[in-house]
């Protein structure tokens, strides 16, 4: 396949044109809307208005960081135990992990809302044994729980993938050389599984920080995240300029955190998806 010239141009042209029009240009248009007013005149007003959204950005990042950490704390031992099992059982269990991921996020989240509601299943059970109902919907805990539940498989899968590739002979060698269980974990398994952890972190953090359905349903509309702010401007207030400026900041924030994460993974040998 070494022939060049017109053939190569013909092969590359359709995708290049497509990606310029529908990937690159839209990002510039977000920038254009962010720095103009309704009539298309240049302005900094939208960027200045972002001051009022500072709290929302902080809340979103904070909740997503918490959700990511909790996902990691659950997924790491889960993936480790899973990778120690027989091949037959692992195959079946991978299917079990992936199945909920294939259900739409809206359905999964709505179902939790029904379980946690004031008159929901948990509170009905509590009333049945004579206890006071607990308020769960509308609390930060419920929103963070929703993020953990929905994105948990995204953390399990990459960690499990790297862990299942660790040769058992490596662990035996560590044992022969006098490592105890803790040192085996710290010196062999942890460094080798780091790329999986890093891609898991990005795969949970990015959708968490930009979600709006989870906070709408489990936060009962009382908890505003960046996603809610964008959705409100784009679909209710029709202030596309402000919506674009919030999106722009969200995008820049994520690009920066991705660059930091990539720096980590470059040193450790690439991302695993």
């Amino acid at each position: 396949m070494k022939k060049r010239g017109w053939g190569s141009v013909a092969l590359n042209a359709p995708y290049t044109v497509w990606s310029v029009i529908f990937i690159v240009v839209p990002l510039f248009i977000v920038g254009y809307y962010a720095f103009t007013d309704k009539n298309g005149a240049f302005t900094f007003a939208n960027i200045i208005e972002l001051k009022e959204y500072g709290d929302i950005f902080v809340t979103s990042v904070w909740y997503s960081v918490l959700a990511t950490v909790i996902c990691l704390l659950i997924s790491y031992p889960f993936a480790y135990f899973l990778s120690r099992q027989s091949e037959q059982s692992r195959r079946l269990q991978m299917m079990l992990v992936m199945l909920p991921m294939w259900m739409n996020l809206l359905i999964r989240t709505y179902s939790w809302m029904n379980i946690l509601e004031k008159n929901g299943i948990i509170n009905n059970l509590l009333a049945g044994i004579g206890l006071e109902p607990i308020k769960m919907i509308g609390t930060p805990g419920a929103v963070i729980f929703g993020m953990v539940y929905n994105y948990l498989p995204y953390m399990i899968l990459p960690i499990y993938t790297v862990m299942s590739k660790i040769e058992p002979s490596l662990l035996e060698a560590a044992e022969d050389l006098g490592c105890n269980g803790f040192n085996k974990m710290r010196r062999v398994i942890m460094p080798l599984s780091l790329p999986g952890v890093i891609s898991g972190i990005t795969m949970v953090f990015v959708p968490s920080v930009s979600t709006f359905y989870i906070s709408q349903k489990l936060g009962d509309g009382k908890i505003m995240l960046v996603g809610d702010a964008i959705e409100r401007q784009m679909q209710a207030a029709y202030n596309y300029n402000l919506g674009a400026s919030i999106s722009l900041v969200l995008m820049i924030m994520i690009i920066i955190s991705m660059a930091v994460m990539n720096k980590f993974s470059d040193e450790e040998g690439g991302l695993v998806i």
Binding site: M103, I115, N124, M251
Partner: protein
């Protein structure tokens, strides 16, 4: 340690499946409630099939998923071949970054950026309605493309170039040599890319929410509209049907995979 691991992992599975099983359970509820079970009934399933808007949303979703996966697969395969043949390291890296952008960006940013593009272009061209089925289709093709390219590119790298050259030496035109030699070799990547594109398109809510017109509703958009009000168990019946379909599909894929692997192993042993 072993028993602790079993207990821990079982707890995670219970957490993962609790809402799904509860949903299936309450879809059989006799009353309107989704938290108090009063008796067994199939009426919500019957009601579901009598609603034409849900059937329409389902067929819309399938049409969109098939079309967008098909176009993305063709365009993405051509793009992967082009990227593979690319000589300039700089252009290759730039294209790679651009390809990764929709996967890196949160869905909401991709959705908003495409919506603003369509609004901008629509105003410029003087359309009355900026968003329609066509804008939705473009959006789906756009977010499907990187997944097709990422599935095809590694297969191309594994393919032996000398086979292609041999075919040309034996008198094939480049296009014929491509379809006779390269295409069969990269087919598994093309198929898995197409399948991935299809499922991503079926499942997408966020990007569709920003890019569809008022007259074209997909199933996730319909579910979103249904959950704005208090939900009756008919939404649960719909979700249960989706759940069962996915379960059956996954089992079938798994069994087929195991069968083909066993066959391979058998052939290997015979030799």
């Amino acid at each position: 340690m072993k028993t602790f691991g079993k207990i821990f992992n079982t707890c995670v599975y219970i957490l993962l499946y609790a809402p799904l099983l509860i949903m299936v359970f309450f879809s059989f509820n006799e009353s309107k409630s989704t938290s108090v079970f009063t008796g067994f009934s199939l009426k919500w399933y019957l009601e579901l099939f009598s609603k034409s808007d849900i059937i329409e949303a389902l067929s819309n979703t399938l049409i969109l998923a098939v079309l967008s996966a098909l176009i993305a697969t063709v365009l993405g395969t051509v793009a992967a071949v082009g990227l593979y043949k690319m000589r300039s390291k700089f252009i290759y890296n730039t294209m790679n970054t651009v390809t990764n952008l929709p996967m890196m960006n949160p869905d909401i940013v991709t959705g908003v950026s495409l919506m603003l593009l369509f609004v901008f272009a629509g105003r410029l061209l003087g359309f009355a309605e900026y968003l329609s089925f066509w804008t939705l289709l473009i959006a789906h093709i756009t977010f499907n493309l990187p997944y097709v390219i990422l599935n095809v590119l590694p297969k191309l790298r594994q393919t032996d170039v000398s086979l292609y050259e041999a075919a040309m030496d034996l008198g094939c035109t480049p296009i014929k040599a491509f379809f006779k030699v390269i295409m069969p070799a990269i087919m598994p990547g093309v198929v898995s890319g197409a399948l991935m594109a299809f499922t991503l398109s079926l499942d997408d809510f966020v990007i569709s929410y920003y890019t569809t017109g008022a007259d074209f509703q997909t199933l996730p958009l319909k579910i979103f509209a249904m959950t704005k009000k208090t939900v009756k168990p008919d939404m649960y019946a719909l979700s249960s049907l989706i759940f069962i379909t996915i379960l059956v599909l996954l089992i079938v894929i798994n069994v087929l995979q195991e069968k083909s692997e066993r066959k391979l192993k058998g052939e290997f042993n015979k030799k």
